[in-house]
């Protein structure tokens, strides 16, 4: 029995081509890209009611008018919900990849991704708390007063950016060019959206900031599930 991946001739070039082809086929068989995207979409959607109804905990400063107080946005969401949700997400992703790999008869390369993800989640919690108590600008400052550095720091310390960075690591672990391109688009959308300040007194003003990334993640998950190459794990 022969196969295209194992050429009958033993020329160095054919052997190297066969090695590359086999390596690529194993990588494809190890992938399960749709699942992390689905999990991240779910935790982003769950963040909507958390953001709206979580108690407004956080430090306050004297407002521009005498006797008024201006408080930081609630740290309950960024410093508590997101790190916990991300940890649970990585646990679910790790279990999924290990089970999928065992079923397919392969080991999994997912450990670096999960480790980086957990470290980023811990850093996010630390950065959120630090920024709440050491704000870059007074709480009462208008968004137009923010410098590009302030916007950049806010973007970096955002849970959605943390998800994007973890997806970059996943793209590297899986050697997945399509995921790399998708993640770049996802991060750019986050960057552009982060720069758009919504002036609203509504308590739902944050909705687009969460809904848009959640929809992008859901669409990505569906696309990777539908257009996966032959050999990649099937959604069950």
């Amino acid at each position: 029995m022969t196969h295209d991946s194992v050429p009958s001739a033993n020329s160095p070039r054919e052997l190297l081509t066969a090695v590359s082809d086999l390596t690529r086929r194993v990588r494809v068989a190890q992938r399960g890209t749709w699942f992390p995207l689905l999990v991240f979409a779910v935790i982003t959607l769950v963040a909507i009611p958390v953001e709206r109804y979580a108690p407004q905990l956080g430090p306050c400063q004297a407002g521009p008018e005498e006797g008024t107080l201006v408080c930081a946005a609630s740290v309950a969401s960024t410093a508590v919900y997101w790190p916990v949700a991300l940890m649970l997400a990585y646990a679910a992703i790790a279990v999924f990849y290990v089970r999928q790999s065992r079923q397919r008869g392969l080991g999994t390369p997912i450990r670096p991704y999960v480790v980086v993800g957990v470290v980023l989640a811990v850093l996010l919690a630390g950065a959120s708390l630090w920024l709440a108590y050491h704000p870059l600008a007074p709480f009462s400052a208008a968004p137009s007063e923010f410098t590009p550095t302030m916007h950049a720091v806010s973007w970096l310390a955002s849970p959605l950016t943390v998800i994007g960075f973890a997806l970059l690591v996943l793209a590297w672990v899986e050697r997945h060019w399509a995921l790399l391109a998708y993640t770049a688009v996802y991060l750019v959308i986050g960057l552009v959206q982060g720069g758009q300040v919504i002036q609203s007194s509504s308590r739902w003003f944050f909705l687009p900031y969460l809904l848009v990334p959640a929809v992008v993640l859901l669409l990505g998950s569906a696309a990777f599930a539908l257009f996966r190459p032959v050999g990649e794990a099937q959604p069950r």
Binding site: R13, A18, V26, G107
Partner: protein, 111 residues
């Protein structure tokens, strides 16, 4: 002439099926017998013989066990196997390079 890359090729590794097994085990970290058999399209007996050769050379480690009631055989590349695979690929690349250089020199000489 001892430094010619062809002299550095290991007969155990420089065999297309065994090189394939090692390449898969390297990328997969751990690979099951069934995956190897399907991917390399070999009979169980043929694959078993190649695995025995690699195991005797201490390039792979074979673990047998059960997953539920299903018997499973897992193959892992040993550190010596990792090194052997890396060296084999380096030798193959050098060999290709030398052949290409020789062909270029020949073409230039013909003009």
């Amino acid at each position: 002439m001892t430094d010619h890359p062809a002299n550095g090729l290991d007969d155990v590794v420089h065999q297309r099926v065994r090189l394939g097994i090692m390449a898969i085990a390297h990328q997969a970290r751990q690979v099951e017998f069934g995956f190897l058999r399907t991917t390399l399209q070999l009979t169980a007996g043929n694959l078993g013989q190649h695995l025995t050769v690699l195991e005797k050379a201490e390039l792979i480690q074979i673990e047998k066990g059960y997953e539920g009631k299903r018997p499973r055989t897992w193959v892992t590349l040993t550190p010596a196997g990792q090194t052997a695979l890396r060296e084999e690929i380096a030798h193959l690349k050098r060999l290709i390079q030398e052949v290409e250089q020789a062909e270029t020199a020949e073409t230039t000489g013909d003009r």
